[in-house]
Symmetry: C2
Subunit: 107 residues, 2 copies
Amino acid sequence: MQLTKTEEQLMQYLWEKEKAFMKDLIEAYPEPRPAATTIATLLKRMADKKFIGYKLYGNSREYHPLVKKSDYFSKHMSGLIKTFFNDSATQFASFFTKESDMSEAEL
Amino acid sequence: MQLTKTEEQLMQYLWEKEKAFMKDLIEAYPEPRPAATTIATLLKRMADKKFIGYKLYGNSREYHPLVKKSDYFSKHMSGLIKTFFNDSATQFASFFTKESDMSEAEL
DNA sequence: TAATTAATTCTACATTTGTAGAATGTACTA
DNA sequence: TAGTACATTCTACAAATGTAGAATTAATTA
C-alpha cells in the first residue's frame, strides 16, 4: 500500500517533528488549515497502512513514523528509475547528468 | 492534472512505440490483458488530460504522446526533490551518493 | 454479402481519496 | 466544578480511479 499525496504531505510534517500529537501536526499546516477531523482521518488511514504508529497518552496519541524518510524516498526513486529507465541505473545517470541542473562536478 | 499509475503504464507503451493504435497498445500488455474498453477509457481520460493526441484513420485513431518522456520524468524528479529535500539539489545529491547503489565514480 | 475484427461511446459500479460535520470523551484551567 | 481545548470515532459524501459490459459502427476478409 502506498501513501497518497495528501498523506505524504502529512508524513513530511511528522518526519520533521519525529513525533507529534495531532494538534502539532495541524499547526504545521499553513492557513487555511484543514479540519481536525480531516487530519484525524488521514492519521487513521496512515496507521492502517502501517506508515505511522503511536503511543497512548491518556486519550490521545503521540504519533511517530514507522518508515524512515530515506527509505521511503529510496523506494520512490527506484520505482521511478525502474519505470522510466528500465531499471538501468546507468541509463538513468546519463539522463540525469544531461538533463538536470546539477553538473557532474556538483555531484 | 497528473497521470495515475495505470495511465502511466499505458503511457510507457505509447512512448516505446511512439505511435500506435489501440490494438497495438493492448497487445503490449502481458497476459491477462485488460478489457479493450478499459484501455479505451484510459486513452480517453489521457486525451482529456492532454497527455496524448491522435490522428484519425477511418473510424479509428492512431495515438501519440503529447509530452516527452524526459519532460515527464524531469517533472517527477523535481517534484520528488522538492518534496523530500526541500528543493535543495545539493542535499539530494549527497543523499543520493550515500544511499544509492551508484558510486560517484559511476556517475 | 455475411462474418469477423477493431474501435468507440455510453453506461455502470466498486474502491479509493479528500474533506468534514456531529457526537462523545478526557483533561486541563479559571 | 464548570468551561474550554483537544482528540477520537462514526458517518457521509463528492470526486477520482480501475475496470468492464452492451450497443453501435466501420473496415476487412472469406
